[in-house]
């Protein structure tokens, strides 16, 4: 089938499909007479997997690796799980730093709203910033 038909079946945009093909995640055949990309039923499956894996936070290069393993008859499940566990750990760190920034910003905002900061320039601002970061 052609790109448009694959797009219709999977509800993935033709633009995205072409991008995945260009990145090697999908491997359509070329129709010799007109040069169009021709996709098979297997690509429908691959595309579903790509989208779901992206939803779970896998990067495209990780997805390519998983699909390659599968193609070589290698069970990719263990690798999939390891990546996800690592990603969860990274997420914990990200949440923590976001939380820290948030607390400092909220403190700064409270001071600004009370009109506590009498500063004429960025040097004065800098001292107050330092104080809210330090008290965190």
């Amino acid at each position: 089938m052609r790109v448009t038909e694959l797009a219709r079946q999977t509800r993935v945009s033709p633009h995205a499909i072409r991008f995945y093909a260009r990145s090697g995640l999908l491997k359509p055949d070329k129709n010799r007479s007109n040069g169009y990309k021709m996709f098979g039923q297997n690509d429908v499956q691959r595309l579903r997997f790509i989208r779901m894996a992206q939803c779970l936070g896998y990067t495209l290069s990780e997805i390519a690796e998983l699909l390659a393993r599968l193609e070589e008859g290698d069970n990719p499940c263990e690798r999939m799980e390891r990546i996800l566990r690592q990603r969860l750990e990274e997420t914990a760190g990200k949440l923590e730093s976001l939380q820290r920034t948030r607390v400092a910003m909220e403190r700064a905002l409270a001071c600004l709203e009370k009109g506590d900061w009498h500063v004429a320039d960025v040097e004065g601002l800098c001292a107050h910033f330092q104080a809210v970061v330090a008290s965190g």
Binding site: L70, G73, N75, L88, L95, V122, Q130, V132
Partner: protein, 134 residues
């Protein structure tokens, strides 16, 4: 002073100093004799502010806006307040997105725990799809 002097005074890396100069947050003069960038104490003060503001979560664009306002004279406080409100909104959205993703990842892992053999026969991709379809 040159870049090295600024590095010594602020603890920023030379790359950072050059980058901020390139994007206009710092505005060193060129030494007419050797074309090297020459920084003043005012640049050091600016850089200290930039580093501190980055630590607090301001973007470089936010910082550029604050510096520009401050260069025009007058207190930058109202602008800073406005930017912080904007940032807090954005962060709340970012936080929500991360929490949703985390929940999805946890559900997938929990599901995988219950199905030790996820690719039973012939290593079918459809089985793999079922395993991530949370």
């Amino acid at each position: 002073m040159n870049v090295v002097g600024v590095v010594r005074k602020t603890g920023a890396t030379a790359d950072t100093v050059r980058y901020y100069a390139r994007i206009g947050l710092l505005q060193p003069r060129r030494d007419p004799r050797n074309r090297y960038k020459t920084f003043t104490e005012a640049d050091v003060t600016r850089l200290r502010f930039i580093l501190r503001a980055r630590q607090l979560g301001f973007s470089l664009r936010d910082i550029g806006e604050i510096l520009q306002r401050s260069d025009l004279g007058g207190t930058p406080c109202p602008l800073v307040r406005e930017i912080i409100r904007r940032r807090l909104d954005e962060q709340a959205r970012e936080l929500d997105a991360i929490l949703i993703l985390r929940e999805r990842m946890r559900m997938a892992l929990a599901k995988w725990q219950e199905m030790p053999d996820r690719l039973p026969d012939g290593k079918e991709i459809s089985a793999l799809i079922a395993s991530v379809d949370t």
